[in-house]
Symmetry: C3
C-alpha cells in the first residue's frame, strides 16, 4: 500500500476525480492554496496498492500535466467607449506535484 499526495490545479480536479472513480481508485480531496501561485488548487490523498502506483501516476500525468492554452484577454474599453482589438494570449495551465509515501499500516473500519 502507498499513499499518493497529488496537488493539482482546481480546474483539473473534477476530471481527475472522475478518472479515479472510473478505475475504482479511492481518493479524498482537500481544498488547498498554492505556494508560488496564489490561486486555489486541490490536493488528493490516494490510497493504492503497490502494483497500481504506476497506473495512478499515469492518470495524474495525463489529466493534469502543465500545458499551454490560448485565452481571450480581458477586453480593454477606453474612455470613449471604444474597445481595442484584443488577441488571444498563450498561458500555462495545469501542472501536478506528486509525492508517493510509504505506508506502514492500512485499515478500513
Amino acid at each position: 500500500m502507498k499513499l499518493i499526495l497529488a496537488i493539482v490545479q482546481d480546474k483539473d480536479a473534477n476530471t481527475l476525480s472522475n478518472e479515479f472513480i472510473n478505475v475504482n481508485v479511492q481518493a479524498t480531496k482537500l481544498s488547498t492554496t498554492g505556494g508560488f501561485l496564489k490561486s486555489g488548487n486541490t490536493t488528493f490523498i490516494i490510497g493504492v496498492d503497490d502494483e497500481r502506483v504506476d497506473e495512478v501516476l499515469k492518470i495524474i500525468k495525463e489529466t493534469s500535466h502543465a500545458r499551454e492554452q490560448f485565452m481571450a484577454p480581458p477586453v480593454n474599453v477606453d474612455v470613449t467607449g471604444d474597445s481595442a482589438m484584443s488577441y488571444p494570449i498563450e498561458v500555462q495551465v495545469g501542472g501536478a506535484t506528486v509525492f508517493v509515501l510509504p505506508v506502514e499500516q492500512f485499515h478500513r473500519f
Copy 2:
C-alpha cells in the same frame, strides 16, 4: 513517532475529536470531500508515539466504524395533500480509512 491519517464521516468527527482530547492525543482536522461518496468527510492528522498507535486505532475503529442505522425516509406528499405511509429504511453510516505513516523527524517549536 507515527503519523496517522484517518478519514471519517463528518457525523463522526466531533465524537472522535473529543475522544482524542480525553486521552491527550493531539489531532488536527481537515475538511475533505470523499471519492466515491460525494458527501463531506473529515481527515484527522494525528501525531502519536509508536507505543500508542494501537490505542489510537482502537478509538478510531470504535467511534467511526461502518454500521447500519434506521432512518426515517423523506415524507412523500401527493397532490391531494395526503402523505403516504413511510417506513424507516436501513442505511449504512460511518466507516473510516486509516493510514499509519513512518516519521523521520518530529518537532514541537
Copy 3:
C-alpha cells in the same frame, strides 16, 4: 526528497508563506482546525530536497515558535457606563508541530 508537514497558528501563516517564497521553497497550504485549541490553524505541505530540510525547519522555528505576547484585554463597561481600568495580559501565541516524512517518489508533471 522529504515531505514536511508543518501545523502553525493562522496568525503566523502568511509570514511563513512569504519566507518560503523568498527562499524558493514550494509549499501548499491547508486550512485546518486544531485539536486541543479550537482555534484555526494552517497546515503546510512542503516538498524539499534532503539537504534543505534543516534550513526549512529553521525557518519554521524562527517564524512560528511559541512565545509570550502582551495583549489588551477586552474593556469591561459596567451598567453606569464607567469602564474599569484594564491591564495588558500575557498570552502565549504561535507554536508549530512539524513532521518530516520519507518520500519514495517525487514527480512534477
